[in-house]
């Protein structure tokens, strides 16, 4: 059975359809990519799935359960994690703390122990900190853990986004242009990271304009254009699709 099922999902902003009647299914454990021209509706699609924006129509199912229009934190609890195209980092907090927030749901969040500073909270904090360090090492920010996140270079912020999303142990991970602002060498590192994540059983959905990365990792690609689904298939099939070439890839590919 598919992990996520999207059924004629739509979103209009002031009459303009950013996402129109899009349907697809995502198989668990695979890496899926969503590609398409600028303004095609990829980020909006993520926003709809992760609850940042309420759909105008359609349905989203996770493991068969209807999750349409649920709040982001509820979806996070159900196992959906995401990174943002424009980094949404907590600038005043340290890099490690950013990741620890990503682990919020796995920590002791009871009010009374928190207020009283009980050892359980300390333990949770320590565990979260260790986990954060691990993840930061994984994305190559291990050295930066104690710096204020606001001072990171752009590319570093994008990696921090990934680490924070991973911290919640998501089942479904949505990555919005994780390689934007990374050079080919750095992108190769991210490619390996994504493959490792998928190998660990996490279902990944990738929005990315770097076709080398997309083609390298994707089991399945969805192409959007002007809010509609243009094509849906394996990397090889998509690469050869004339409509996709005309609308998005260009002859260079």
């Amino acid at each position: 059975m598919s992990l996520l099922e999207v059924q004629s999902l739509s979103k209009t902003f002031g009459g303009v359809a950013a996402v129109a009647e899009v349907s697809f299914e995502l198989e668990a454990g695979h890496v899926h990519s969503v590609i398409g021209p600028n303004g095609a509706g990829k980020t909006t699609l993520f926003n709809l799935i992760a609850g940042a924006v309420r759909p105008s129509g359609g349905k989203v199912r996770l493991d068969g359960a209807d999750i349409t229009g649920l709040a982001p934190h509820v979806l996070a609890e159900r196992g959906i994690g995401r990174s943002f195209q424009t980094p949404q980092i907590f600038a005043a907090m340290s890099v490690a703390e950013n990741v620890m927030v990503g682990r919020h749901l796995r920590l002791d969040r009871r009010l009374l122990p928190s207020l009283l500073g009980m050892p359980a909270v300390d333990r949770a904090n320590r565990a979260a900190r260790e986990r954060a360090q691990l993840l930061l090492d994984q994305v190559g920010l291990g050295q930066e853990a104690d710096r204020p996140a606001g001072g990171l270079a752009y590319g570093a912020m994008k990696r921090l986004e990934i680490a924070r999303a991973l911290a919640g142990d998501p089942r479904l991970l949505l990555l919005d242009e994780p390689a934007a602002g990374l050079n080919p060498t750095e992108t190769a590192e991210i490619t390996a990271l994504i493959q490792a994540i998928a190998a660990a059983g996490v279902t990944v959905v990738l929005v990315e304009h770097d076709m080398r990365l997309v083609m390298a990792v994707s089991d399945h690609i969805i192409v959007l254009d002007s809010g509609r689904k243009l094509a849906d298939g394996t990397a090889a099939a998509i690469r050869a699709d004339p409509a996709v070439i005309a609308a998005y890839l260009g002859q260079a590919q």
Binding site: A50, G51, A52, A71, P72, H73, A76, E77, G81, R82, F84, Q88, I89, F90, A91, A92, M93, S94, A96, E97, N98, M100, V101, G102, H104, L105, L107, D108, R109, L111, P113, S114, L115, L116, G117, V121, A124, N125, A128, R129, D146, R164, A165, A167, G168
Partner: protein, 312 residues
């Protein structure tokens, strides 16, 4: 993280030391009185800092909770003959319930709109306190019976100082604990980006409500104690200017700093006393100092000075 915990331990130790030494160096009860008032303001400010400093939710109506705390204590003890401790608890419950009821609709608002909504709420409370003369004595205020704890009533400034100092220390301790717990991190996170916090699993609305209620409880406690200590209260204590003053204390001391809230409260309580003999220059000096501190130490006293000290 590690460094921060030391600062917390050290800070709490320093606070305890200052609170312990203070009564021995202050020359007379008048100074103790100022210290008590500063302490009560500090308790309210520590709560307000949780809301404004950590969670980034501005409230320009916080004095209302202080005022309600004071008046519920006053009315229940003076009018209904309740024991003061019970009245104080009742005030906490009422304030908590009120804060909880308004939190969800109001805290959806952002920035200046939230400031406006809380300001409106505060003014409405102040108007009710001033208009319901039969209950509250109106603008001229009402007397409040003394505090009684298990049959013991604090006989003078020194006893009151002890009570306030202990409670202040506990208030700071709780606030610091909360700040470094996952809840505190969640608050700081939603302060920076609500959508990112929510995506990380933080129930933004719930956390905002929680911290709003908590901050109201701090203010309520301070208000109830103030009422009994002063023995007389007026609605001005719940008014707009009082709310602005509380916010100013928090910002002056330094946002997102528990000790900043304490220092800010202490300074803004003491300054008018220092300038009281300057008469027509008093307000000028107050305004100038406030501006000067914020211009030269824009993050507020404690964080800015800590940074300067760290740089050396």
């Amino acid at each position: 993280m590690i460094r921060r915990r030391e600062a917390r331990r050290g800070g709490l130790g320093a606070l305890a030391a200052v609170l312990l030494v203070l009564p021995f160096v202050l020359p007379n009860t008048y100074y103790l009185n100022v210290a008590i008032l500063a302490g009560l303001n500090a308790i309210a400010c520590i709560g307000l800092n949780l809301l404004i400093g950590y969670a980034g939710q501005i409230s320009l109506g916080h004095a209302a909770f202080f005022g309600i705390g004071a008046y519920v204590s006053a009315i229940l003890t003076a009018g209904q003959g309740w024991p003061p401790v019970l009245a104080l608890l009742a005030a906490l419950v009422l304030n908590g319930a009120l804060a909880f009821a308004v939190a969800r609709p109001i805290l959806r608002l952002r920035g200046h709109y939230l400031a406006m909504a809380t300001l409106g709420l505060g003014i409405i409370v102040a108007i009710v306190l001033a208009q319901e003369v039969r209950l509250t004595g109106g603008p001229d205020g009402m007397p409040v019976p003394p505090l009684v704890l298990l049959g013991w009533s604090p006989p003078g400034e020194a006893a009151w100082y002890g009570i306030v100092a202990v409670l202040l220390w506990i208030a700071a301790w709780l606030s610091l604990n909360l700040a470094r717990s996952p809840i505190g991190r969640a608050l700081a996170a939603l302060n920076a980006s609500e959508i990112a916090a929510a995506t990380a699993g933080v129930d933004v609305a719930r956390h905002k409500s929680l911290v709003f209620v908590l901050s109201a409880l701090y203010a309520s406690l301070a208000g109830s104690l103030f009422a009994h200590y002063a023995g007389f209260i007026t609605p001005a204590k719940a008014g707009f200017l009082q709310s602005v003053e509380l916010v100013t204390m928090v910002v002056l001391g330094g946002m997102a700093s528990t000790f900043g809230a304490v220092v800010g409260a202490a300074i803004l309580t003491a300054l008018p006393q220092i300038f009281a003999t300057f008469h027509e220059y008093e307000t000028i000096a107050l305004g100038a100092i406030l501006m000067g501190i914020m211009i030269f130490l824009p993050r507020g006293l404690v964080p800015s000075l800590a940074r300067l000290a760290g740089r050396r």
